[in-house]
Point group: C2
Chain length 377, copies 2
């Protein structure tokens, strides 16, 4: 394993706090497991836009980040000192722009968000089978509903028309769907008794890809997705197939999430389904996420917890660093350090179970996790 250089980007809001914890844990693992890792901090908070530069990132930001092997992001989106209702009209688009710029500019076209309900995690569903949730949502990350081609005609007049174009390419669709099938094949190799139990109850294969569309109302790309899905599926005869409309999928995520395995969805649908999947696995405090280019490592991958910058609780030490640490574990796997990643994941799980019901600060949670890692060593 060659030396990897990482950019730590705390961002703003609780991003700053949870990143401090990630740095503690990475330091610990680097020293204990002798990992060939180094990192630098890139301090580009949303608030910089208001306070300093009139922009969030330096002009050469994209060039700067390309120098790293991976980017670890805390959170972005603190609207800063603007007050209502101005904050409605301005800052989201600016403060979150770097996120979308990284995903698109670095061609990180797949977003992966796994959802498992760890013992001890907050549980929102009544059904005890929720303990068996184990799904991976793969989201398109580079096109579709997020191309932001649109605008406002006659802005402010009674005749105003706002348009937004959705653009889907076969190339983008095919690589996404093939990646989902490959992920399902990998999961099949490490396959889990419980999941196969629920699947076989329904007479399905023990690994499955579920395609999400809204083809009954948006046929143009719904049909493209459906056709590409059927074609690529032929390369993976061992994988079961399923299709759900996005509205029905949201419902079934609440009613029977243990019946899902790999789920593949467009940018917007994936955004919605991954947030739902995060709740199913205990909420945003525990939901990791990565943005990758499965075909190439030329650009750095971007790892970020699913949660936002939560300005309402920022700076109070209340944020749960677990999502950030599970995200760091995803990054370690990506960089080839699977056993350190596994160690970290196990410690997060052990700490969660041991501390069930306790209210702890951000630092205390990390301390608990570090202790578990020490004991494992």
């Amino acid at each position: 394993n060659k030396q990897a250089n990482i950019a730590l980007m705390p961002g703003d809001g609780i991003g700053v706090e949870v990143m401090a914890e990630a740095e503690r844990v990475l330091t610990f693992l680097r020293d204990q497991d002798d990992l060939p890792l180094s990192w630098e901090v890139l301090d580009w908070p949303s608030t910089a836009w208001h306070q300093q530069h009139g922009q969030m990132m330096p002009d050469d930001a994209m060039d700067q980040v390309r120098r790293y092997d991976a980017l670890l992001l805390g959170a972005l989106g603190d609207p800063g000192p603007l007050s209502e209702p101005d904050r409605y009209c301005l800052p989201d688009g600016i403060s979150l722009a770097p996120l979308l710029r990284f995903r698109k500019g670095l061609d990180l076209w797949a977003c992966e968000r796994p959802a498992r309900l760890l013992p001890g995690a907050p549980r929102y569903l009544a059904d005890p089978r929720a303990a068996d949730i184990d799904m991976l949502v793969i989201r398109e990350n580079s096109e579709g509903e997020y191309v932001n081609q649109g605008g406002r005609l006659g802005q402010g007049t009674p005749h105003e028309v706002a348009t937004q174009l959705e653009v889907f390419t076969r190339r983008g669709t095919e690589r996404l769907i093939r990646h989902a099938f490959r992920a399902a094949r990998l999961r099949l190799e490490h396959h889990d008794e419980k999941r196969s139990f629920y699947c076989s109850e329904k007479g399905q294969a023990p690994a499955q890809v579920c395609l999400i569309t809204k083809r009954n109302a948006q046929p143009a790309w719904g049909e493209l997705y459906t056709e590409v899905f059927a074609e690529v599926a032929k390369e993976f005869p061992e994988i079961g197939l399923r299709h759900e409309l996005v509205d029905a999928a949201c419902m079934k995520f609440v009613q029977c999430p243990w019946e899902f395995d790999v789920v593949v969805a467009s940018n917007l649908h994936g955004d919605i389904l991954t947030d739902l999947a995060a709740v199913l696995s205990g909420g945003l405090g525990l939901a990791p996420s990565c943005n990758i280019n499965p075909d190439s490592r030329e650009s750095p991958a971007l790892f970020e917890p699913t949660h936002g910058s939560a300005p309402d609780i920022a700076g109070q030490g209340k944020a749960n660093p677990a999502a950030m640490l599970l995200t760091a574990a995803m990054m370690l796997t990506y960089l080839g350090h699977s056993s350190s990643a596994e160690r970290l994941r196990n410690a997060v799980a052990a700490d969660l179970l041991a501390s069930e019901g306790q209210v702890r600060s951000c630092r205390e949670v990390t301390a608990g996790i570090l202790e578990h890692m020490q004991n494992q060593a």
Copy 2:
């Protein structure tokens, strides 16, 4: 109250079964409460497309339905005898077309889907506060993501590009949002202790409209919605305001749905949120829905349960007719027969509680409900 003439459109799949129950109940209420109601059946199932005419509805379908005061629809969407994978590529768009054609062609621009968790209903959420869910989701029904302006360039080639345009007008946005505020005002007048308890815990007004957008990724219409929301809100100073991004809203629907009151959303976002709201209130077996034009009664309103035609269980007498009956109750209210509607709703609720845990056929459920209405009389 003048004589109203209704079209009963069973549609296909379980629509046929649940509509038969609706007709029994409407007959009972008409006779008992002396309602000035008459109806005719329009038999336009999806399967007609395959079996008979090569189309679902006669050419003059839109003219035919305009003659009625209200349309009561069972369900549509049975793909018919087509087998996989063909059913993926063809029939949704055809079999569901009438639904979207009615909504758009009759200018039924608002869809209302109330969600309350009745005692005895299936419960998916662990938190006991779920008993206090009481929200009304108002969905845009005529434009936005559903305009179906799009297509496929280079279809089938590696260079294929599929596009879909989203179109939002200020006129469409303003009438939608004003309708949501009016609905909130009505709810304020009949306001409920429990809801105001949760709202005031958070320091909010006891009636509230929550706007849904995805303005951080789709700014063009997100900003239009946000600006119109702020403007219209000024006419309703007594109503609290809230904004959620659609992904966060889905999450909060699972985490704390009792904190929502009126929710107003675009066509696609509303589609997703109303399906989620349906789960929260016990699933599709209990979720009513209406499509209305709040400004005009020139065209008939369309009442349909949120569920689809469920071809997998159709014809087996397993479907729950409650959603259809609660939908019929919405129609009765619309036609000015609120006390009959209330009677029907109460009977559905009483029957649900009395029969908790029992597996009953479609007809048995209706029999139970009719019995409760008889006893109330």
